[in-house]
């Protein structure tokens, strides 16, 4: 994806069904779809099921890194890996999640590959994945992507992206794979007016988001303030783990072996650094016993450690952790407090 320059096209909205048909040739298409009164990332058959009207809470991370996954079975002293992969198109991923997938690529693939290690369970799925981003026309309550430099318009990390220009979609390509899909539709190149329009939509969304801080360089400021901020917000934390589970970049997992009698299954499942048991030591003590210490770890990891190790912040400003927090602890408040000195 990295060396491809990319092109920009205009697509009449009437062509969206053809676009979806073209995507279906690349694999199972998953898009935000109305289920009950919620929007969930679900497999779709035709374009009419796709709903871009709201930003879903649902996290597409599950399609590459499931909540629970059987990774191998042990039977008759033989290990049988259960590598599951299928061609998948994630349609309508928001820019924050596109950025999150780039983080996941580094955590599970790019970085460790230099040492000859690659997590096949996640990376096989990543390799078979086509990402079609949808740039946000409007923000949601807890959005702060503009402060984290990940949105509201995606600039890289996708195969195709869509921007809603009213009658048209602006379609951008960032990979050979994306270019190949779009070429079958014979779309005209976007006009300069359309490019200006996209810029205006970005500005409008940023204005509506109304974020009064910018996280650039936060990794240099965090040491001074993190203790006070972590302590302050931890007082309200009820330890549900939701901020980790629904963080699109959180990638910690735990494993357990399940004896089914005829075979043993190894299962891996999402873990959370906000749980005390995450740092359970022999003898029944806990490295991070106090909730404040766990909150500090979470903030340091998102806003500092991954900058050092992977060259990227791992908070994308999607606001999911704020939305799912039963105690109304908001990540945007913590980031702002860290930047402003506690």
């Amino acid at each position: 994806m990295t060396h491809f320059q990319g092109h920009t096209y205009a697509m009449k909205k009437e062509m969206f069904p053809d676009f979806v048909e073209a995507l279906k040739k690349e694999g199972m298409v998953v898009a935000p779809k109305s289920v009950g009164s919620d929007l969930l990332y679900m497999p779709i058959d035709n374009a009419s099921e796709v709903d871009f009207s709201r930003i879903p809470l649902d996290d597409p991370k599950m399609y590459v890194f499931p909540m629970t996954e059987k990774i191998f079975t042990l039977k008759d002293e033989k290990v049988v890996p259960l590598l599951k992969s299928m061609k998948l198109v994630l349609l309508g991923m928001r820019p924050c999640d596109v950025a999150a997938f780039q983080c996941l690529n580094r955590f599970f693939g790019d970085y460790v590959e230099e040492n000859g290690i690659r997590d096949p369970y996640v990376m096989d799925k990543m390799d078979d994945l086509t990402i079609v981003a949808f740039n946000c026309p409007h923000p949601k309550e807890h959005c702060f992507c503009s402060a984290m430099g990940t949105g509201p318009v995606a600039t890289s990390g996708f195969d195709l992206s869509l921007t809603d220009l009213g009658d048209n979609y602006l379609v951008e390509t960032r990979s050979e794979r994306g270019e190949k899909i779009i070429q079958k539709l014979f779309l005209p190149t976007a006009s300069s007016e359309e490019m200006v329009e996209r810029e205006e939509i970005r500005k409008r969304c940023e204005t509506e988001m109304n974020v009064d801080f910018n996280a650039e360089g936060i990794e240099k400021k965090i040491e001074k303030t993190v203790n006070a901020v972590a302590e302050k917000y931890a007082e309200k934390c009820i330890v549900c783990g939701g901020c980790n589970f629904y963080c699109p970049t959180c990638s910690c997992y735990n494993m357990s072996d399940v004896d089914r009698g005829t075979a043993v299954e190894r299962i891996r499942f999402w873990d959370s650094c906000m749980l005390r048991g995450f740092t359970w030591l022999a003898g029944g003590t806990f490295e991070r016993d106090a909730i404040g210490a766990r909150m500090k770890q979470r903030l340091m990891h998102k806003l500092s450690y991954t900058v050092v190790h992977y060259g990227t912040l791992s908070c994308t400003g999607c606001g999911r952790c704020s939305q799912v927090c039963p105690s109304y602890i908001f990540m945007e408040d913590m980031v702002r407090d860290i930047l402003r000195g506690g």
Binding site: T68, C240, L275, G277, P326
Partner: protein, 671 residues
Amino acid sequence: MYLIVEGGEVIGVVPCESHPVSEGKLCIKGWKAHEFIHSPDRLTKPLIKRGGRFVEASWDEALDLVAERFTDIVDRHGPRALGFFSSARCTNEENYVMQKLARAAFKSNNIDHCARLCHASTVAGLMAAFGSGAMTNSINELLDAKSILVTGSNTTEQHPIIGGKILHARKRGAKLIVIDPREIQLAKHADVHLRPLPGTDVAWLNSFIHVILEEGLEDEKFIQDHLESESFQEMKKIVMSPRYSPENTEKVTSIPAHDLRRAAILFASNRPGSVVYSMGITQHVQGTDNVKSVANLQMIIGNVGFYATGVNPLRGQNNVQGACDMGALPSWFPGYQPVTDSSIQRKMAKAWGVRAEEMDSMVGLTIVEMVKAAGSGDIKGLYIIGENPMVSDPNLNSTEESLKEPFLVVQDIFMTPTAELADVVLPAASFAEKEGTYTSTQRTVSRVRRAIEPLGDSKPDDWIIGQIAERAWYEGCSYSSPAEILDEINRLVPIYAGITWKRIDSAEFPFGISWPCPTEEHPGTDYLHGGGNFSRGKGKCHVCEYVKPPEEPDTEYPFRLTTGRIAFHYHTGTMTRRSPTLDREVRSAYIEINPADASELGIRHNGVVKVRSRRGEITVRAEVSETVPRGVVFIPWHFKEAAANKLTNDTLDPDSKIPGFKVCAVKIERA
């Protein structure tokens, strides 16, 4: 909450963003709700005990045996020799069918469920005061209260979503008053935290009312228009006596008089005010008096029948409200229609196709009474669904002896310590495997939908109950679907009359309807007793005098033990302890003890101690912590291998028959 299913297995959950109460928030038990479903420990075959060991059996064998033994017991000893424990984890429809099995098929009112152990005193107390025994208001109203009094509820651990809303209400300016012996998380955010000794609630509640009347902060108009005046005058006479002055109350409760006065004035002068309570109020030998006193308090301030006010007992299981509503109680038919009322008996008999004069017309036995009756031989057959008295009941050593006696049938999803004592074990389906409805703590009836097929040979509870009934020559417990059962409920239960399957299965009510809902046109009821017009007519004050708990610390057993739950486990731990994430968080029982007490006894943090009461002994780890005051200790009761209920006292509240779990005397020594 949505379940993610892959290849017939539940592999995850998705929070429901559009749900008006949860708003996409879950507690850790919700995030990990899928982890126990496919546990290898799930029961998937009926089991019959032969020669002291369980052997697998076919459904026909097991069901025939149960029906045959139950019928035989009724023939030889009468219907009252059978007992039935229904389950607050099961659906409304299953609870309805279970009580119908007891009442119509076997003609016994010996039906009860675990609400007896948690909110029996709420139902009794609020029914007497208001005419309805449920949470008066809705959860989201807490956000708009001007003051919130939380007592006997560790809300952020036991009802985390509600706890979060209380924290948020505090941030929005509500005054928060926490009254709890332990320094719980909410206490750290409170305007005032009072720490009464466990078991002294009537004393401080009366003193609150004393201060409010003394300061003239009562709502005179509300009292005049909406309360039975004689009852108010009688109650007033008692609480105004000098023994309930803050100064004299301090001697009993150890709450500083000045703080009590401040809290009472703060609460009464910031209206609308809401009281939130739970087990710390109900699980006492004076539980019903505690609840009545809370009702007294809210009535005299005029905090009942309006938005963001109310007496709000938080129910502790997914469907404990529904199990009560469905009449899984020895004194009520479904919908709180008394079993002793002959016109109701006739109505039910007609609908159920039995003769009214054959039905049991007397109030049946409660859970703890049934266990005792099993021990004494008065109950010969006991059918327990989704309950685990071998961990949840008080005075377990005695419970165990009693449960060994009768012909015991246990229906569950796991082999619980109770099931181990059974003669027949029937494998049931989990919540992910069944269709039906649940009723939440705020009286909202909503759908649960099947995500996967029942595992192995396990079956939904309503099917199993129907089969037993058929084999005992009663066809009335077999239905084609839960929808058909709800339809029958709609016809017989006035408060559920308008909550039809069609409505709550539709997009119009994706999150259910709150009872009372008398007709199909009715939108449901957010808060009860609107405008102060109580279900019983006028509100009734009750005279409640403080009585000492039956067992107080003495020189031999010098500590006051109180028990409770923690955020990571659910009741007897049969599900949560099988979730690797929840189990890792807290793996074993512990005792919270104040650092000063610990140091006197030479007990170190994490050290192993023996805790002994007059009824039993357990060995646990010490958690040395300021959370408990001196002289008070706390043990979570989820853990079967160190069951706190081996220590607790089985003395019952005379009004509601709830055991006084929350106070007993223990001694502690290093192990």
